[in-house]
């Protein structure tokens, strides 16, 4: 198969059937072993399922990397109140395009993961919160879900176990902030998607005031495989602290952009030069953002030393985030791209906290002024000062995400800013 591009260095578990439309049909999915994990999980006590996931060391794939099994174990037991599992499919981080692929190529894998997750935390209802732009993607998911209901995998008395789990697909309406877990819950409840103050954490007071757990699409999609094969099986890939495989979304100036499933700890430079077929047009590498636009930019030298796991990225001063590798070659205008990222955050700030609302708007104005050649050298100091006050001072981390590209780009590509400010020269412009 040649789903847009594949590499023989991949370990394809999640993405095994990417590129095969037959996988969307429930009969094919079942024939290929689908819903086997669900059958096994229903025969286990919820606590056993949680323990299996804990043993696998799986870490949340939405960006924060929190261990999934531990998160599930926070859910209270025997409360007599409804519990909710929410699947976060509000994928909108610039650079990330894995959840859409997971849903549109293998919707049943996600449904099965949701059902196992719901069983583990004692939830009776799962909400899959998809971003509003996913019209086509959710058509595939809705069709798969209807088939799953018809075959008795979802709904009342699943496979004769007496367990009832419903799944509802919910569409957002175009707000990046709804990808933040408590913002998402507010949005699900029909409110503005503004994040909530924590604590209380969702496991205590989540959606509709009830105990809730929220997991990313990729996290839930791997669950059936872990339950089927056991926690130790998953640990054969990756590193001690970051076990397993992960989808890497590579975009930007490479020959073969796309989703690649690789063991965690994979060297970043191999991903670019080998798996993705090298830089487009043979140009030199200038900078990489390894985890989506919210994490600090690294330069070519740091990229060569970077291994793609949670700890390896921290070691070179950035984060793995949701593993959205954005590759930039020597022709990239860093100032322009940072300005575009800041514009994004200024647009998406929910306006709840002052440092973020004001900070993102003013940062965007200053960045535009510099890009248009009207900046001063003092602006760089002001930018550093303003963004410094945006870190750790707000309810959610959107504000920190504005600071990351601005601060890291000024630190690492100061020459480019200065060339624009002093001489109006666009470094890197073709």
């Amino acid at each position: 198969m040649a789903y847009p591009y594949v590499s023989d260095r991949e370990v394809r578990i999640l993405s095994k059937y990417f590129g095969d439309p037959k996988q969307r049909r429930i009969d094919t999915y079942v024939k290929r072993g689908g819903y086997g994990g669900l059958k096994k999980a229903l025969g286990m006590a919820p606590g056993e399922v949680v323990d299996t996931v804990k043993a696998s060391g799986l870490r949340g794939r939405g960006g924060a990397g929190f261990p999934t099994g531990v998160k599930w174990s926070f859910m209270p037991k025997d409360t007599g109140r409804p519990h909710y599992l929410i699947c976060n499919a509000d994928e909108s981080e610039p650079g990330t395009f894995k959840d859409r692929e997971l849903i549109r190529w293998d919707p049943h894998q996600l449904i099965e993961g949701c059902l196992i997750g719901a069983h583990a935390i004692g939830a009776q209802h799962v909400y899959i919160y998809c971003r509003g732009e996913f019209f086509e993607t959710t058509q595939v998911l809705a069709k798969a879900l209807e088939d799953a209901y018809a075959k008795g995998y979802v709904g009342e008395d699943i496979l004769g176990s007496g367990i009832k789990i419903d799944i509802t697909v919910h569409l957002g309406a175009g707000a990046y902030i709804c990808g933040e877990e408590t913002g998402l819950m507010n949005s699900l409840e029909g409110r503005r998607g503004q994040p909530r103050v924590k604590p209380p954490f969702p496991a205590a007071v989540g959606a509709f005031g009830m105990p809730s757990t929220i997991n990313n699409v990729e996290t839930l999609s791997i669950i059936p495989h872990i339950v089927t094969n056991g926690g130790d099986w998953y640990r054969q890939w990756g590193t001690e602290k970051s076990p397993g495989t992960k989808l890497f979304c590579v975009s930007g100036h490479v020959n073969k952009p796309g989703n690649y499933e690789l063991p965690l700890g994979f060297p970043l430079i191999d991903l670019i030069e080998d798996v993705c077929g090298g830089m487009r047009g043979g140009k030199a590498l200038k900078a990489v953002i390894p985890g989506g636009s919210s994490v600090p930019i690294i330069n070519a030298e740091e990229a060569r030393a970077c291994s793609l796991d949670y700890e390896g990225c921290v070691a070179v001063g950035t984060m793995l985030g949701c593993a959205s590798v954005i590759v930039m070659d020597e022709t990239t205008e860093i100032v322009k791209q940072v300005r575009r990222m800041v514009d994004f955050y200024a647009h998406e700030s929910c306006g709840q906290c002052t440092p973020c609302r004001e900070g993102s708007a003013w940062t965007a104005k200053m960045m535009r002024r510099i890009e248009e050649g009207r900046g001063t050298e003092d602006d760089l100091d002001t930018l550093m000062e303003v963004t410094q006050q945006m870190v750790g001072t707000t309810i959610c981390v959107l504000s920190d995400s504005v600071a990351a590209p601005v601060q890291s780009s000024i630190n690492k590509f100061r020459d480019e800013y200065l060339a624009l400010i002093r001489r109006g020269e666009r470094v890197g412009a073709a």
Binding site: A2, P4, D20, P21, R24, S92, E93, P94, T96, F97, R100, R104, W105, R131, G132, E133, F135, E136, Q139, V140, A142, K143, L145, E146, Y149, V154, D166, T168, V169, H170, L171, G172, A173, G174, A175, Y176, S187, L188, E189, G190, R191, R192, G193, F208, C249, S251, G252, H253, P257, G258, I289, S293, I326, T332, Q337, R340, M341, F344, H347, E348
Partner: protein, 218 residues
Amino acid sequence: MSDVPFKNPGWAGNTGEFHLTEEQVRGKDFVGERPKHAGHASGSATMPYMLPEKNPDAKLFEGDYQERFEKILSRYPTKQAALLPALGLAQELRGYVSPESMDRIAELLDLSPAYVRGVATFYTMYNKRPVGRYLVQVCTNISCNLCGADEVRDTFLSQTDTELGETSTDGNFTVIEAECLAGCGFPTCVQINSEYFENVTPDEVPKILEHLKRRGGS
């Protein structure tokens, strides 16, 4: 149906080719096909489309739409939670969320009109004023931008003879910039009504526009 090469590998199944015809893209047995007006309450009912033909005076939540609205209500523990899907349905019918639609929804869900207005204006996908038959959303975020999204956007604007956010004089096109459409590996990603067009280059823009005009109101 069309000779425009769609560059959307996701819908045709994997042929390893980016150039596909619309028939290959959607096909007759497209597995995602769903009934437009109902379907199972777990999914279909809650999902709005963006239709080319809009009727600003359409009655809200009658007939099939009434059925969909009730299915939506049945999926949530509170009435308020139906607000986002309900606004989506109103937009599907009328093309935008007018103050009258918001007031009607507030009434149906026992919410205050001011609250509904507050929520509707928070989300960018609810059009607060009428848009053209085709709403063209060009992603200009970093990954697409690195691969020339600005030129694609400018070509859409010059070909439709509009400014960002305005509707062309024939009422066909409104071009806006979108914030990341999650198609970063297939730049430039453009969403037109409910469809994604991927790997769009400036040369293809005229062909896409011509195709949309010819397709009419389907």
